[in-house]
Symmetry: C2
Subunit: 217 residues, 2 copies
DNA sequence: CGACCAATTGAATTGATTCAAGGTCCGTGG
DNA sequence: CCACGGACCTTGAATCAATTCAATTGGTCG
């Protein structure tokens, strides 16, 4: 259906899901035209001055930080219809890059204060998501993390039989706090147990959502 | 200076640090009088309806989630002058409890929209903090995590020679994503290496901030 | 075909956990 | 005043999950 690293130039103007908060924010911001970022290009870097927000039109974005010892922690992936780029400081604390071909609109705030409540709600959603992720990073086993990741992707892609992995193993590892070898091994175990099929490296078929979900404990 | 689990009834009306965003929020909210929560009491529970924000007047608060398998992840500690209780959903997703004796004001939003921008900024600060924490949970060793934790506490307490650990080992462990035994062991290693002294279990003296900081890599 | 990058698989190692046993501190009651 | 109990902390030994390092396979593209 989708080429693995293909650049999908087409896009829709409206986000994938109806969203009151997003709509409100769009009403009070000036949206740029869609800029295209090829695979692995930088959207913004740590230290750059922050300002506009970013709306994903299509594709996948990874936002990450680098620790002092050079390790990368991906804090979140963003997909079509999602907004990222919230910053507490005048400078970006994170890097944002395209995972595959990505289309982005920048949103610049026009009016006064009426946007803030919408923005606040969008930001709060981000917090909730990050907190869930933190819960996993702190405690869950590699098995549980990967199972949860696949289930989240199924929700995001609104699929009940499998997911497309736009990102490579190293990205998944850096998101879940494990090495890419471990990602590979755990996927292998899932396959052996009949929990998933891997027709290609970037496609995961999930015969039973429930059985996979039972590993998240 | 402070009794370990003592209940400090006195409080100041102004937060510990001058803070424009907080001041702005206070201007547009109705603050309750200070409620006192003894050690280990519940401030709010997961599933309760969210609404007001909470301003810590004195003491230490832990906010945590419980994973499906019963493990606890403390997402953040909050100290005097800090605001917590931001929620994306109408229901609390987290538990909030007092670590020691805590004084709390609830803040209810009065006016229309002008608060939102201040709230937004406070919330964004929360995001930044949580993201840093996530960076640690994903990758850092137990040694690095604990060193960072102690340094953060030194900043928070504005001390350059040590910290008071209001929370017990299990709390620290659940915050840093390790067992309380590991917390204890790593502290022991720090002591052996002369990085810290432990006159009592709840007091850590740090002779050289720099040497401790060198472990955070 | 050959080069390159991603993914897989294997073997040894390590860091942290688990389970278990002591030790310390503190408040309570004899 | 001291003995007792309970909560918290420390320490030890065995285990285990995940990493590291290394080799191999698979896929893609010029």
């Amino acid at each position: 259906m989708f080429s693995q690293h293909g650049s999908r130039q087409e896009h829709t103007l409206q986000p994938t899901t109806a969203d009151a908060d997003l709509a409100r924010v769009l009403d009070h911001t000036t949206a740029s035209s869609v800029a295209f970022y090829p695979t692995n290009s930088v959207i913004y870097a740590q230290g750059e001055s922050a300002g506009p927000l970013y709306l994903v039109e299509f594709g996948t974005v990874r936002v990450y930080r680098i620790s002092t010892d050079g390790r990368r922690q991906i804090t979140s992936f963003y997909f079509a219809g999602e907004v990222f780029g919230f910053e507490a400081d005048p400078e970006h604390q994170c890097y944002a890059e395209s995972v595959d071909g990505v289309g982005i609109r920048t949103l610049r705030i026009k009016a006064g204060e009426q946007v803030a409540e919408g923005l606040l709600r969008l930001a709060l959603r981000g917090i909730a998501r990050i907190q869930s992720h933190m819960l996993m990073l702190g405690r869950a086993s590699a098995t549980a993390r990967l199972a949860k990741f696949l289930l989240d992707l199924m929700d995001q892609q609104e699929s009940d039989d499998g997911v497309a992995l736009q990102m490579q193993r190293a990205d998944i590892g850096d998101y879940l706090g494990m090495t890419f070898e471990t990602v590979s091994r755990v996927l292998h175990v899932f396959k052996e147990r009949g929990l998933v099929q891997l027709p290609t490296a970037d496609r995961v078929l999930v015969p039973s959502r429930e059985r996979l979900a039972s590993l998240c404990a």
